[in-house]
């Protein structure tokens, strides 16, 4: 159990963050400058908050009331930075081993070979960082932090400085790590797709404040939070499982608590669990039951909430068994007279299959 409550004033910027999270992966989400990095720096002990309290398990790392401030090297908090920060004069092997001298406080040291294997670093061990690609460097940085036996692992946008191809190269490693490690992770990102792939708990940070804390699928459907998520990325996260495959039309049926969705054929056995993401702009609303329409996924539901207008758009929350966010133009909302309580049909134009959650439980 991680509990964070920190306040810090830095010029005009005021940080006032509080959240609690469990033993798995917690995402800190927000736009650049929202204060995400300040929060993880406070947890790592790299900045000293003006007031507050930070505890991991039963260990207090910072408490302004009792004047406790544990030095960063004694916190047992691993940190993967945005930049790889590999030591240029040490080989990959020695970089990886740098933190292994840390007193683990009874925690088992992760097996060196297992981590090297997991991150596919075998061939790189004797090289110097200078000879590695950006993606390889970041993999080494992740391994180095993990091998230091942290009680908590912080990752501050570890993929932000990589191009799309490198990100795709590393994400599977991260997913694997988040699954396999018995270490709680706090993962900072402003990319909602990374978060839905990796995290279980979502903390939304804006202007130095923690606005929402909860399960990823829960927080992403809150309309008051939606404007904060990258506008194009707003959407709904659903946990479902494979129901059946249709080889004729190359489609897979996925069931979720509200019903079923048809998606282009995906790999996986029947019963396998998945996480799906439906972008709000890919959801249309009809007030009648549509027939003769190309859209495959038409889900009946009830409008539960109408968000505040933003520019030409407005977010609508439709309960089809689970809440789904639809982004409509103000004009459509007015023309159709959409309001809470109204029965409608949600037309879902496309579904992204974000992660194979099969081995997560």
């Amino acid at each position: 159990m991680i509990s964070v409550a920190v306040q810090k004033r830095d010029g005009d910027f005021e940080l006032d963050a509080r959240f609690e999270s469990g033993p798995s992966v917690t995402a800190l989400f927000g736009v650049s400058g929202a204060g995400k990095t300040s929060i993880v720096n406070a947890i790592a002990g790299l900045v000293r908050p003006d007031a507050g309290r930070i505890t991991v398990g039963d260990v207090t790392l910072f408490d302004s009331a009792t004047r406790v401030f544990v030095a960063p090297e004694r916190r047992g908090v691993g940190y993967v930075f945005q930049e790889d920060r590999l030591f240029p004069h040490l080989t990959v092997r020695r970089n990886l081993r740098y933190g292994s001298r840390r007193n683990g406080g009874g925690r088992d040291a992760p097996d060196f070979d297992a981590i090297v294997n997991l991150l596919a670093l075998e061939r790189l061990l004797e090289r110097l960082p200078h000879h590695l690609s950006g993606g390889e460097k970041q993999r080494v940085a992740i391994g180095r932090a993990v091998l230091s036996r942290p009680r908590l692992l912080l990752m501050d946008e570890p993929l932000a400085n990589l191009d799309a191809a490198r990100r795709e190269e590393i994400l599977p490693f991260l997913e694997q790590m988040c699954r396999d490690l018995a270490v709680p992770i706090i993962y900072v990102s402003h990319a909602i797709d990374e978060i839905t792939r990796l995290a279980d708990t979502l903390v939304v940070v804006d202007a130095g404040k923690t606005l929402a804390v909860g399960a990823v699928s829960e927080v992403t459907t809150r309309l008051d939070i939606a404007p904060l998520t990258d506008r194009r990325d707003a959407g709904t996260v659903l946990d479902g499982q494979i129901e059946s495959h249709d080889p004729t039309f190359q489609l897979t049926t996925v069931s979720f608590p509200g019903g079923q969705l048809l998606v282009p054929a995906i790999e996986g056995r029947v019963g396998e669990k998945l996480r799906l993401r439906i972008q709000a702009r890919d959801v249309a609303i009809s007030t009648s039951t549509p027939s003769q329409i190309s859209t495959l996924n038409c889900l009946p539901g009830v409008i539960t909430e109408v968000g505040i207008p933003r520019h030409a758009h407005q977010d609508i929350l439709v309960d089809v068994g689970v809440p789904i966010v639809a982004r409509l133009t103000l004009r459509s909302v007015a023309d159709l007279g959409l309001a809470p309580g109204r029965h409608v049909t949600a037309l879902i134009k496309s579904v992204a299959v974000d992660r194979n959650a099969a081995s997560l439980d």
Partner: protein
């Protein structure tokens, strides 16, 4: 090829410069680190004081050393009584004078190289459980090596050439404090010694050049290792 007298002068000069550099090096690294990585009230004054030997006339430094480290001097008397070390009219005094004069150059070179190290690497090492001392020993020091080599060679060359402070502090005693520059100076006072002077001048140039070349080679090797060019 070299006369016994020349060999004596060269050996003495190398000995003086060697000990001057050896004793200044740890102090210079400490001073450089403090100036590069800490802030404290009065830092400007400390920084200025460290540079003094570079800007005041060497005679002034020599005289100050004489006052402080002479047999009757505040520090000199204490050292003589407690550990029996005497600097006055002794090659150790020449080494002290050379070390003091070369100190600012050494600190400067090392400080620049420490300042060039990305502090984020040191922060990363802290998050991996390294104490500030271990961070210094395993990250800062190795990455500052090129600057440390450069500073050492600069200081060594400066020590070999030290004249004003040395002659003021420990005089010009053959076999004891008469280093290369002092020997050249003495010969200029002797009629008909042009050839002997020329030989010593060439020897001075040769030693300085050799030191520079060795340092350059070492520094290149270290830099290449850090950048990974020659792995």
């Amino acid at each position: 090829m070299l006369s016994p007298l020349e060999i004596e002068v060269i050996a003495l000069s190398l000995r003086v410069a060697f000990w001057a550099v050896l004793f200044s090096l740890p102090l210079a690294i400490a001073a450089a680190w403090i100036l590069a990585r800490t802030t404290f009230p009065g830092k400007v004054i400390v920084d200025g004081a460290l540079h003094l030997p570079l800007v005041v006339p060497p005679v002034v430094v020599g005289f100050t050393l004489l006052v402080l480290f002479g047999r009757q001097g505040a520090i000199g008397a204490f050292l003589y009584e407690t550990v029996g070390i005497s600097f006055a009219f002794d090659w150790k005094g020449a080494a002290l004078a050379a070390g003091v004069m070369a100190f600012p150059l050494m600190v400067r070179a090392i400080r620049l190289s420490i300042e060039a190290i990305d502090q984020r690497l040191e922060t990363a090492a802290r998050t991996l459980g390294a104490s500030p001392l271990r961070v210094f020993a395993t990250i800062t020091l190795p990455l500052a090596l090129p600057g440390i080599f450069a500073g050492t060679v600069l200081a060594f060359a400066r020590s070999l050439g030290e004249f004003g402070a040395t002659i003021t502090f420990v005089s010009n005693i053959p076999g004891e404090t008469r280093t290369l520059p002092l020997a050249i100076f003495s010969l200029t006072q002797t009629p008909g010694a042009q050839d002997a002077i020329l030989r010593l001048v060439l020897i001075s140039i040769a030693i300085a050049l050799a030191a520079l070349i060795v340092s350059e080679m070492l520094s290149r090797r270290v830099t290449a290792r850090i950048r990974g060019d020659a792995a």
